[in-house]
């Protein structure tokens, strides 16, 4: 089942002097199994969209539908048990390692499944699977999460969400603060999870990452969708007007154009594909 946003408006502190509209009529459908990037400046509505998805927020008007769950402004339509939605949609917040709190890695990761009614054994088994899946080995099970490196802690935090076996994974700036190798590993992990059928919604400022990873790109501005399409269509967009950086490979394609070599951006995603395109153009 797809995810549907139907004429969604969201206003923070509605009716108070601090009232501010975060979403101004979002309507879109996200197909299951897709890898979608949500981008836009700080305050454009990205995080609000993500939080509506697992009912941390309720729309001011309109509705968000995920499978049988309806998160609607209309109380009569709204599903009663939205807790199930939290299991279906896993939200990985920015710097999730700050939320680790138990004394061993396995206990921390097992916390989610236990909370959703799994027995102790079941929860531990799911935790072990998730820890292995993010690329940590069994020696990590009983270590303290606080003695790990930044990259390892991030993996533990992501494992904590994966252990709940969500159908949709929402990642808010998942590679911020990681070194290049850890970022690449994280990206490979997200691709692997996506390849198994999990829908991924990536919220990021890192346009290089977005271009490399996502199959669909949604640009938000003032709570509205202003662009929606294939990431390579980014090339035609003046990203700086949305406070976004141009991906480095596209910046270089522009530079080549100024020097008289025109490349089609459609297959260029990373340094390797850019090098191939240059080679072909020169032959």
């Amino acid at each position: 089942m797809p995810i549907t946003y139907d004429s969604v408006h969201f206003v923070y502190a509605a009716g108070s002097p601090f009232e501010s509209a975060a979403l101004n009529g979002i309507s879109l459908v996200i197909e299951p199994g897709s890898f979608v990037a949500l981008v836009g400046r700080t305050g454009s509505g990205k995080s609000t969209m993500a939080q509506l998805l697992n009912a941390l927020l309720v729309p001011t008007s309109g509705e968000v539908v995920v499978d049988e769950f309806v998160n609607s402004a209309d109380k009569k339509k709204r599903s009663r048990k939205l807790k199930g939605l939290r299991k279906k949609v896993g939200l990985v917040f920015q710097f999730p390692e700050y939320q680790l709190f138990l004394d061993t890695v396995e206990k921390d990761v097992a916390y989610g499944p236990k909370n959703f009614g799994a027995s102790r054994e079941e929860a531990l088994e799911k935790a072990h699977q998730a820890i292995l899946e993010v690329g940590l080995d069994a020696s990590f099970f009983e270590r303290s999460p606080f003695a790990l490196s930044g990259g390892e802690k991030r993996k533990v935090a992501i494992a904590g969400i994966l252990a709940m076996e969500p159908d949709v994974l929402v990642l808010d700036e998942p590679t911020a603060g990681l070194d290049p190798e850890a970022s690449r590993e994280a990206l490979a992990l997200f691709r692997k999870i996506n390849a198994k059928g999990t829908t991924i919604i990536l919220v990021s400022h890192d346009m290089d990452l977005v271009l490399e990873a996502a199959t669909r790109l949604i640009v938000l501005e003032n709570g509205k969708v202003v662009k929606d399409g294939d990431p390579s269509s980014l090339f035609e967009v003046d990203l700086t007007s949305y406070a976004l950086e141009e991906p480095k490979v596209f910046r270089f394609v522009d530079l080549l154009k100024k020097n008289g070599l025109e490349l089609s951006p459609s297959n260029i995603r990373d340094v390797e594909s850019l090098a191939k395109a240059i080679k072909e153009a020169k032959q």
Partner: protein, 274 residues
């Protein structure tokens, strides 16, 4: 004059046998902008704390700041020459407004009130935050908070500025705000020495000299050009080279022999289109 000199430094946290920093020697000349790069866990941040005397003196080797060897007695005076900016903009905001935050260090030094306002005005102007003096931190972006932190540090007139991953938690626009501020400061004050601890190689490429740290040891040292030309060695310790270097090696892998002296994007584009 050397702003910082580190000789044969080895350190391990108490209760732990493994050395986080191992037999490390390097120095920074006055007025030099040096980047120290390394992956997560390479010992970079420990080093920043050691040279500012924050981890005590139970290390082997010697650290000198502007010619003074650090020890229990000298550290207070030496710390006056050092300004430290940390990674997390939220953890270092101590005032309830921008103005109070910048004033914090000055109050500790018992700067008289009438002088203080002039200093606050000057440095908030310098970092482009003068219009925000009465604002509380909640309404500021990460980049703005980090600029306030830098203003607070600059107000103490340090001769050596140490940036410990100061941009790593910021979004791209916050990052470029800070980087252009650093370059502006350097242009204005040629004798300001900077040690920037970072894993942002694009930033390091713009400094005077780069030191690469791996597992607490110095692995390379040189100009950005010298260091980033060794991209395979960098990759072996989980570091990327800047974009132009990465593209040049991807082109070589495709059989296009890019000359090794081409290290910036402009000249690489011109060479490709020649």
């Amino acid at each position: 004059m050397k702003a910082l000199e580190v000789k044969g430094l080895s350190f391990s946290y108490s209760g732990d046998d493994s050395e986080v920093v191992h037999d490390l020697s390097f120095s920074i000349e006055e007025g030099e902008y040096v980047s120290l790069i390394g992956h997560n866990g390479s010992g970079k941040s420990t080093l920043a704390k050691l040279v500012s005397g924050l981890l005590g003196f139970s290390y082997r080797g010697e650290i000198s700041v502007f010619g003074t060897v650090l020890d229990k007695k000298s550290v207070r005076a030496a710390r006056r020459d050092i300004g430290l900016v940390f990674q997390n903009p939220d953890n270092q905001f101590v005032g309830s407004t921008v103005e109070e935050d910048i004033a914090f260090g000055l109050e500790n030094r018992e700067v008289p009130r009438e002088k203080m306002q002039a200093i606050i005005d000057e440095y908030s102007e310098e970092v482009g935050m003068r219009d925000f003096l009465k604002k509380s931190p909640e309404g500021l972006s990460g980049g703005q908070k980090q600029r306030v932190a830098i203003a607070g540090v600059l107000a103490m007139e340090p001769r050596l500025l140490i940036l410990d991953e100061a941009t790593s938690m910021l979004d791209p626009s916050g990052k470029s705000e800070i980087l252009s501020l650093i370059h502006r400061l350097k242009d204005k004050n040629a004798s300001l020495s900077i040690l920037s601890i970072t894993h942002d190689v694009e930033e390091a490429a713009k400094s005077d000299r780069v030191i690469v740290l791996n597992a607490g040891r110095k692995m390379m040292e040189g100009t950005p050009k010298e260091v980033f030309a060794r991209s395979e060695e960098l990759a072996s310790i989980h570091l990327d080279a800047p974009f132009a270097y990465r593209l040049a090696s991807a082109l070589r892998a495709e059989g296009i022999e890019v000359p090794s002296d081409i290290v910036d994007e402009e000249s690489l584009a011109r060479w490709i289109c020649r």
